[in-house]
């Protein structure tokens, strides 16, 4: 039974954290353990790039949608799709920066451009079972999976006006790749597959460097010391993943090459595969 405790002018509820400063590392450590509860451990999150896929329009999108429809025939597969915003986000941000809007203002604006891609994709997938998922409607997921409905989420995290001041420069640190990573992490999902327009992660941008070297399968702690500065995913994702407990596997595949996504969903090593623990 919970009891109320007084005597110092405040009314407390008895708990391990009662009266304690939540700034004290010794107190904070009492809340930790070696594992985090995994809510949806058999779900694959597929991220479809804005600039890399959606901005290429029909030619890139339709084959990918066909692949998703084919995947969805396997009712045992539990999929959630996240979408990026692409060139409209970049246009938004460049105007916002010119206007001198604060970082939180920029973070507030970009999600709308992703919503557009979520609706586009949903229009294509809806006849086969899909629904745009509202922000925090995770607790509806069992319902969707049971009904064969694939939810489509936007990616950017809802930090909005409260986006923290960046380490450097005026751009928000918490971008779309991070947002989807965090979604998979907090719900304890099986894997995230980032569908881009390159065969994976390279040591430098392969669009500008012919000698760029691709990473195959690599462990996160092996990758971190050589993390490419010009990266296909947000830096914030990698730093958050180092501290995370749940997510074990991230793949980066080429959505312009038919079959790569399907093979990655099936658990094959395609493109770049980053694992939390060395395989």
């Amino acid at each position: 039974m919970s009891e109320l405790v007084g005597g110092d002018g405040r009314i407390h509820i008895h708990s391990r954290l009662m009266r304690e400063s939540l700034q004290d590392p010794r107190v904070l450590a009492q809340t930790d353990s070696q594992r985090d509860l995994r809510v949806f451990p058999d779900v694959t999150l597929i991220s479809i790039g804005g600039q890399s896929i959606f901005d290429r329009g029909r030619a890139a999108l339709v084959p990918l949608v066909d692949e998703l429809i084919e995947l969805k025939r396997d009712r045992a597969l539990k999929l959630v799709i996240g979408v990026g915003g692409g060139t409209r986000v970049r246009h938004t941000v460049s105007i916002a920066l010119d206007l001198g809007l604060p970082v939180g203002g920029i973070a507030q604006l970009v999600g709308a451009m992703e919503e557009l891609n979520a609706i586009l994709l949903n229009a294509l997938l809806a006849p086969h079972g899909s629904i745009p998922m509202q922000r925090e409607h995770f607790w509806d997921l069992p319902l969707y999976f049971d009904a064969g409905i694939t939810p489509i989420a936007i990616s950017v995290p809802p930090y909005h006006f409260w986006e923290p001041p960046p380490d450097a420069g005026p751009l928000p640190m918490h971008g779309s790749d991070f947002g989807l990573f965090q979604l998979a992490e907090v719900l304890g999902m099986k894997q995230v597959i980032y569908v881009k327009d390159e065969d994976g992660l390279y040591d430098k941008d392969p669009k500008h460097h012919r000698d760029a070297r691709r990473f195959g399968a690599i462990a996160l702690d092996e990758l971190m010391p050589q993390l490419p500065a010009d990266n296909i995913l947000d830096a914030a994702l990698y730093h958050a993943w180092v501290r995370a407990r749940n997510l074990q596997r991230i793949s980066i595949v080429n959505g312009l090459v038919p079959g790569q996504l399907t093979r990655a969903v099936r658990g094959e090593d395609v493109g770049t595969v980053i694992t939390k623990r060395a395989a």
Binding site: R19, E20, P170, R245
Partner: protein, 268 residues
């Protein structure tokens, strides 16, 4: 290969992370509402004390508003937040879930404050109402909201704890920073910052003014504001100061709202 259909802009083709992407842009930041005072009312330190602490503080806030000072109140959590954090931690819930649970108690506290302030123009706001702030302030209202930033499930895990690092102090700082306010004000039940917890160590020494970097360097086991705010302060563009005042001392809140350096100030 199929072409990308891009809109030409200073950032087209760029990855949107890393400082390099914006090197060519002339960024001159605009302050959104620099005159607003963003004020936190502590959960454990004020609200859990009930009427004896809350009423006199609200009187001073109402008086400040009457004198034309624009105040936004953000509520802290307190002992009920500690209770749910404690239970959720035993269940090994991830930090993001705990952060989502942490939204509810400051929201209750904000609603309590709104009921008390209603006759003086108290208006309850959700984070989604944030853009209505100018309306409320121009009408002479006192907007009240939860201090918890809306990160929720997207709150990152920290090493060695499941407690979310961004709680209501962070929400106050980040709100002030977005609005372009120079100082965030924290109403607590101590005269500010000490070198130890003054509730447990009567010999703790008061620190009237200190930089965030110095405070971090001291490595104190307890600090008066969430540590993440101390990390952010040096790189803030606008909110360069945090003031902590004792709401249990008559006159201190009003004085602080009028710009006096009462209590302690942590600066960039």
């Amino acid at each position: 290969m199929t072409e990308r259909l891009t809109i030409t802009s200073a950032l087209s083709g760029a990855t949107l992370t890393g400082p390099g992407a914006t090197a060519t842009i002339d960024y001159r930041p605009t302050a959104v509402m620099p005159d607003v005072k963003v004020v936190k009312i502590g959960g454990q330190s004020v609200l859990d004390r009930g009427r004896a602490a809350v009423f006199p503080i609200l009187e001073e806030i109402v008086e400040a508003r009457r004198r034309g000072i624009q105040v936004v109140l953000l509520a802290g959590g307190g002992t009920r937040a500690r209770h749910i954090y404690s239970v959720a931690s035993e269940l090994e819930l991830p930090t993001g879930v705990i952060a989502s649970l942490g939204k509810y108690i400051p929201m209750q506290n904000a609603r309590m404050l709104q009921m008390l302030l209603a006759k003086h123009g108290g208006v309850f706001m959700l984070p989604d109402d944030f853009e209505k702030l100018p309306l409320y302030l121009q009408m002479g209202c006192i907007p009240v909201m939860s201090g918890m930033p809306p990160f929720g499930y997207w709150e990152k895990r920290e090493p060695d704890t499941r407690i979310p690092q961004h709680r209501t102090d962070a929400g106050v700082f980040l709100s002030a920073e977005f609005l372009g306010a120079r100082r965030g004000l924290f109403i607590k039940d101590e005269d500010g910052l000490y070198d130890d917890d003054p509730k447990k160590n009567p010999a703790a020494i008061h620190i009237p003014r200190i930089t965030a970097a110095e405070l971090i360097a001291r490595g104190l086991p307890d600090v008066v504001v969430e540590r993440v705010v101390l990390d952010y302060l040096p790189r803030a563009r606008w909110c360069k100061e945090l003031q902590i005042v004792n709401g249990l001392r008559p006159g201190h809140v009003l004085a602080a709202l009028q710009g006096a350096d009462t209590g302690s100030i942590i600066h960039a």
